[in-house]
């Protein structure tokens, strides 16, 4: 279980997170939605330890993961980045098996390659792409490789940052289905941040809407459409009228 209590973060005078309270039960898929600049990525980076929150606590599995426990947390963690964040200098299979080739999870090279090929197969890519470099792949293939890397060590927690951004609707649907299948199959706890309502409906067990640095609404996906919250209603239907301010 991931628990955030009163998490606050400001950059100078810009208060991005103003006391976020959020609980993601073990094995559940939580999707965080919200407009651009509402702090979704900052929230994710706080949980990851890439940014230190100014106040509040972040507990994973009941333990505070700041300090020394952070390294142990990362050993059971996988992440799909918005742009893939694949390492240009490494072939695809070494990107996927990155963790298995170095550090505490290191395995023999042949074994690491076999795991990489298996994970690539899991995301619908053949062995023929294994020795290519990321620059030789299409955007959709790069997302799949990023997904294969995220699940390479069978993590207990997976984060997906805008998993369908920049993809055509068909490929976005494929990635959404893959994410859902993988999360269910692995029993992983997942947090996804996205603007894409198709992704929300395909991936989420629960949805949290972030607005002005706070969780505006949180509940099961089945209750989202019936929610009386005007902010949520406006966001999920993509309307430009109030209450959420828009620049036109």
């Amino acid at each position: 279980m991931i628990e955030l209590t009163g998490v606050m973060k400001a950059f100078g005078s810009n208060e991005v997170l103003r006391g976020v309270d959020l609980t993601v039960p073990k094995g559940e898929s939580m999707v965080v939605i919200g407009g651009s600049g509402t702090g979704k990525s900052v929230l994710l980076k706080c949980v990851l330890g890439l940014i230190a929150p100014d106040a509040g606590t972040i507990r994973i599995g009941g333990r505070d993961v700041s300090g020394a426990a952070h390294a142990a947390f990362l050993d059971h963690f996988g992440m799909l980045f918005q742009g893939g964040a694949l390492f240009d200098s490494l072939p695809v299979w070494q990107n996927v098996a990155f963790r298995l080739l170095r550090g505490s999870l290191k395995r023999p090279k042949a074994e690491a390659r076999a795991v990489a090929l298996d994970k690539l197969r899991r995301v619908g890519l053949g062995a023929d792409v294994a020795d290519l470099h990321p620059a030789e792949l299409s955007g959709g293939m790069q997302k799949r490789v990023g997904l294969a890397r995220a699940i390479a060590t069978d993590p207990e927690i997976i984060f997906f940052d805008e998993p369908t951004t920049g993809l055509d609707p068909i490929m976005a649907g494929v990635i959404n289905d893959l994410i859902r299948e993988i999360v269910v199959e692995m029993g992983a706890t997942a947090i996804t941040i996205t603007h894409d309502m198709a992704s929300v409906r395909a991936i989420a067990d629960d949805v949290a809407m972030l607005h002005r640095g706070k969780v505006r609404w949180c509940g099961p996906i089945s209750e989202m459409d019936a929610s009386p919250d005007p902010y949520l209603d406006q966001f999920i239907h993509g309307r430009a009228d109030e209450p959420i301010e828009t620049l036109r």
Partner: protein, 257 residues
């Protein structure tokens, strides 16, 4: 008052920058003592910085050595001292021009490349990805490059010194009419161990500065293409200035007595 306030703000900013660089340096060096290490990344950095810099170092040194010989001959002729060409070329190349020119060429070639590569990795979230893959970017990216540059640069400077002296020798013998054997004998007789040691130590220090600043500016890059451009430009300027400043201090330390 406004001028004073601006001066104060500038001074505080400069001190903060020095502090950040000092912390970055200390953290880099501290990783030397703390595993894990990444020998593959170190090997690749060694090849990139050492092996692939040899052509530019060789070309820079040979033309500089040749030009130096011509200048000393022409200048020496004003007081009948043309015969000192071998000695001055040797001392000039080994003590100063070899390490400084190689250092500046490495700042242009290696510092810029490291800064641009790491800045691009930062902009495209590859640095964040390293962290999520339980890999410390300082250990994986910075230490191998800084260590490789520190070890490769004395070799590059040594090669540059030899090629520079050879450039002077070629001009001296083929253009200025020196006897080849006498030229070489004068070169060898005139150089002292201290000259060579100072040259190699300068190389190591300049290599450390060049790679460290490339990594520092890359890691601190701003967003987008402009951020990468600024990081690259800033790293080369800072490395060049620090190399020249370090050269003065090292020359003072080795030869002031």
């Amino acid at each position: 008052m406004k001028l004073l306030a601006e001066l104060g703000a500038w001074a505080l900013g400069a001190l903060a920058a020095i502090g950040r660089l000092a912390i970055f340096t200390a953290e880099t060096v501290s990783h030397l003592l703390r595993p894990p290490y990444y020998p593959r990344e170190f090997g690749q950095a060694l090849i990139q910085i050492g092996w692939f810099s040899l052509p530019v170092v060789g070309l820079t040194a040979i033309f500089t050595g040749g030009a130096l010989a011509l200048q000393i001959f022409a200048g020496g002729a004003r007081f009948n001292a043309e015969a000192v060409v071998p000695q001055i070329v040797a001392i000039g190349m080994v003590r100063e021009l070899g390490p400084v020119l190689v250092g500046l060429m490495i700042a242009a070639r290696v510092t810029s490349s490291i800064a641009a590569e790491i800045a691009t990795m930062k902009v495209t979230e590859q640095i964040d990805a390293l962290v999520t893959l339980s890999t410390n970017p300082m250990k994986y990216l910075t230490l191998p490059r800084v260590l490789a540059a520190t070890l490769a640069m004395p070799v590059l400077v040594g090669v540059g010194d030899i090629i520079g002296i050879f450039g002077g020798f070629l001009v001296g013998v083929e253009r200025l009419g020196f006897n080849a054997q006498v030229y070489l004998q004068n070169t060898v007789d005139f150089l002292e161990t201290r000259d060579i040691v100072s040259s190699l130590v300068k190389g190591a220090v300049f290599g450390f500065i060049a790679a460290l600043l490339g990594c520092y500016y890359g890691m601190r890059s701003g967003r987008g293409a402009m951020g990468v451009g600024r990081a690259t430009k800033g790293s080369v300027v800072a490395a060049a200035v620090l190399i020249l400043a370090a050269n003065f201090l090292l020359t003072e330390a080795f030869f002031s007595a």
